[in-house]
């Protein structure tokens, strides 16, 4: 097993004919993801390689049986694209688009809670269940099938950690990039709970960063509900307060959301805290 995506994933790509969408469509198909449809309004009836294009997500669901959507549309349209997929009955929506206005997400995320759609992202690299399916942009070649679950707010830092794990023979059950924005659809706790319930995951690596309190809340959740071993990393120990460190959500406001505070919370919850990305191997070795 794995979490959120597997061999049964039937993917529709919103923005399949755009620059990013078309590039990653081919990467995902090559990896083995079952891409059943693309959506570009005005290009319905055409095909991208062998993938049929529809004008709307609803058509992609009715006619191609899509159950998962991935979004590569420009940031200003991303909020609406998420709602379109949700309205069409898609159960899992992964929003890769970066630079989405936070106020747009305040109109989307609470709305999804009233229905049966899980959103991952925005501003995220997506997720991969090695050997089964990849939705998003995580490079498939750095991943290996295995029993470690990875969840992270970052992109390339996640690749670094996955790379370290794979190099040392620790494959992954699933790797989920939840995104670096202040308001996101799926948080650490959602992923921790899913990994805890996944019989093919033995240990969990969580990669957080400065800003907000998600890591602290995740640590409390681990204490109370997670029996599998968890290893954690927090990026931004040297970040100055009050500055947005690339990710919209990576900002220390006043004295809250610092790396030190988050690392202390992880330690208190019995989570092995990595001092640097390369420590992941040693810490995982100790717990599995």
């Amino acid at each position: 097993m794995s979490i959120f995506i597997d061999k049964d994933t039937r993917l529709v790509i919103q923005g399949i004919t755009g620059r990013d969408g078309s590039f990653h469509a081919r990467q995902m198909i090559e990896y083995g993801t079952n891409v059943v449809a693309g959506v570009t309004p005005g290009k319905g009836g055409q095909a991208f390689d062998r993938v049929p294009i529809f004008n709307t997500v609803a058509e992609a669901v009715w006619q191609a049986g899509a159950n998962t959507a991935v979004i590569y549309v420009p940031a200003r349209f991303a909020g609406d694209a998420v709602l379109e997929a949700s309205d069409a009955g898609v159960g899992l929506v992964v929003c890769i688009s970066e630079g989405v206005p936070v106020l747009h997400m305040t109109r989307v995320v609470p709305y999804l809670r009233e229905r049966d759609t899980r959103l991952i992202g925005p501003n995220c690299p997506g997720l991969i269940s090695p050997g089964k399916s990849k939705v998003g942009i995580i490079p498939g070649q750095i991943c290996q099938r295995g029993r470690i679950g990875v969840v992270s707010r970052s992109g390339t830092l996640t690749y670094e950690v996955i790379h370290q794990l794979s190099k040392s023979g620790f494959g992954q059950s699933s790797c989920v990039g939840i995104g670096g924005d202040p308001i996101i659809g799926t948080d650490f706790i959602d992923c921790l709970a899913a990994f805890e319930a996944d019989p093919e995951t033995d240990a969990i690596v969580m990669i957080g960063e400065i800003g907000g309190t998600d890591e602290q809340k995740a640590a409390e959740f681990v204490s109370a509900h997670v029996r599998k071993p968890v290893v954690g990393f927090i990026a931004g120990q040297t970040a100055p307060p009050g500055r947005r460190m690339g990710h919209a959500g990576a900002i220390i406001s006043g004295s809250s959301g610092t790396a030190a505070e988050k690392m202390a919370a992880l330690s208190r919850a019995g989570i092995g805290v990595m001092k640097r990305p390369a420590d992941v191997v040693q810490l995982v070795k100790e717990v599995v």
Binding site: D20, F23, A75, R76, E98, G99, V100, P101, V102, L103, M105, T106, R107, V109, P110, Y111, P125, I137, I138, P139, I142, S152, R153, S154, G155, T156, L157, T158, Y159, E160, H163, G180, P182, I183, I207, E209, G212, T213, D214, F233, A235, G236, Q237, T238, A239, P240, R243, R244, M245, G246, H247, A248, G249, A250, G254, A259, K275, R276, P277, A278
Partner: protein, 379 residues
């Protein structure tokens, strides 16, 4: 992006919120002219993106226009938290009966805009939150409905007893929320919201921070950007499409991805060095961006070594390698460069770099250790 007080006041006024008269000035002559026009006592306020202006001596009262000019001469050009005061706001000195706080923020917890009010105005709201949290009243707003009248009234009753003032304040709360949405703000606050002896409720000071992601959609707000209030290197970086934050160390960092950039800075510190900057060249690489990045990093005289840490995904390692080679041909890079790259098109990159006489590393820890060591050798 933060707006200056005078800009935020104009935004609030546009949405119907009563703000005192006043104008912004860059010279003491203009301050005198504005004060004469206003008549009576005025307040002269430094316009810089820093809290604690009053404590730093950047806010002064003057009883007439001549005094206002003298006060302005002291404030203009002064430095507050490292920022030089280029502009001052001149406004009538209002008589104040009471001071409250009202503000709207994007709240990560409830994932909605949250309106906050407190009868404890005129002080830092974080201080109130720490000392007397029970004096802050909050409401999560459903952005699909906006701030409803009864919700605004209920919060206004926490501020005032007089029904006329409650009504005025409720209207201001709704207008503040409208201004917050219209500007794409992550924070919009009035502190203090005051009552006058005549019973009027007016906004005396305003602060608006705009979500950077909104700026491409709102050219009128982007036009309010004051580049003189930013570090020149950060302005240059933004124009080149890079995310750059200057720090005080001597290891220049050039990384793809924000998380990896932070982790790289942290690793520099871990090995005993100090990062000179945060720099994310972003996802889709092109050699031009790398050239700009190197120009910005080498513009910092403190930098003693430059560290590249690239994990190729969408970013292609060969694009980065081309950029490095191109930059070193275009201008003189007098400090050593340590390059770590792995991932997409790594092999092509190594060939390009080695042909140009560079060494390419694949291990992040090794690269960081080398870059830190080189700052010592050059010291």
């Amino acid at each position: 992006m933060n707006l200056h007080e005078y800009q935020a006041r104009a935004v609030l006024a546009k949405h119907g919120i009563p703000v005192p008269d006043g104008d912004v000035a860059e010279t003491s002559e203009d301050v005198e002219r504005i004060s004469r026009k206003l008549g009576g006592r005025v307040v002269v306020k430094a316009q810089v993106h820093a809290g604690g202006r009053g404590k730093a001596g950047g806010v002064k009262l003057a009883s007439n226009s001549v005094e206002a000019r003298e006060v302005a001469e002291r404030i203009l050009g002064m430095s507050i938290k490292g920022l030089t005061v280029e502009k001052v706001l001149v406004a009538p000195a209002e008589e104040i009966v009471s001071e409250s706080y009202v503000g709207v923020i994007v709240d990560r917890e409830s994932q909605r805009p949250v309106l906050m009010v407190s009868p404890e105005g005129g002080v830092d709201i974080e201080e109130v939150a720490a000392k007397t949290p029970e004096r802050i009243f909050k409401l999560a707003i459903d952005p699909r409905d906006g701030l409803l009248t009864h919700e605004a009234m209920a919060l206004a009753f926490e501020l005032y007893d007089d029904i006329e003032q409650v009504r005025q304040a409720a209207r201001i709360l709704q207008q503040l929320y409208d201004a917050f949405v219209a500007t794409g703000a992550s924070l919009a606050e009035i502190n203090p919201l005051v009552t006058t002896p005549e019973g009027r409720v007016i906004a005396l000071d305003a602060k608006i921070s705009v979500d950077d992601n909104e700026l491409p959609l709102k050219p009128d707000i982007e036009a309010l950007r004051d580049t003189s209030a930013e570090a020149p290197s950060e302005v240059e970086a933004r124009q080149a499409g890079l995310t750059f934050i200057k720090l005080d160390g001597d290891v220049g960092c050039c990384v793809n991805g924000a998380g990896l950039a932070m982790a790289t800075m942290d690793l520099v510190k871990y090995y005993g060095g100090e990062p000179a900057n945060f720099l994310d060249i972003g996802g889709s690489s092109n050699p031009e961006k790398v050239v700009s990045a190197l120009r910005i990093i080498t513009g910092d005289a403190n930098v003693k070594s430059i560290l590249f840490n690239i994990f190729g995904g969408i970013t292609r390692c060969d694009d980065v390698a081309k950029g490095i080679v191109e930059a070193t041909r275009k201008f003189n890079v007098s400090v050593p460069i340590v390059i770590r790259l792995t991932g997409t098109n790594e092999r092509e990159a190594v060939v390009i770099l080695e042909d140009a006489g560079f060494k390419a590393l694949t291990d992040m820890d090794e690269a960081v250790q080398q870059a830190v060591k080189l700052t010592r050798a050059g010291a």
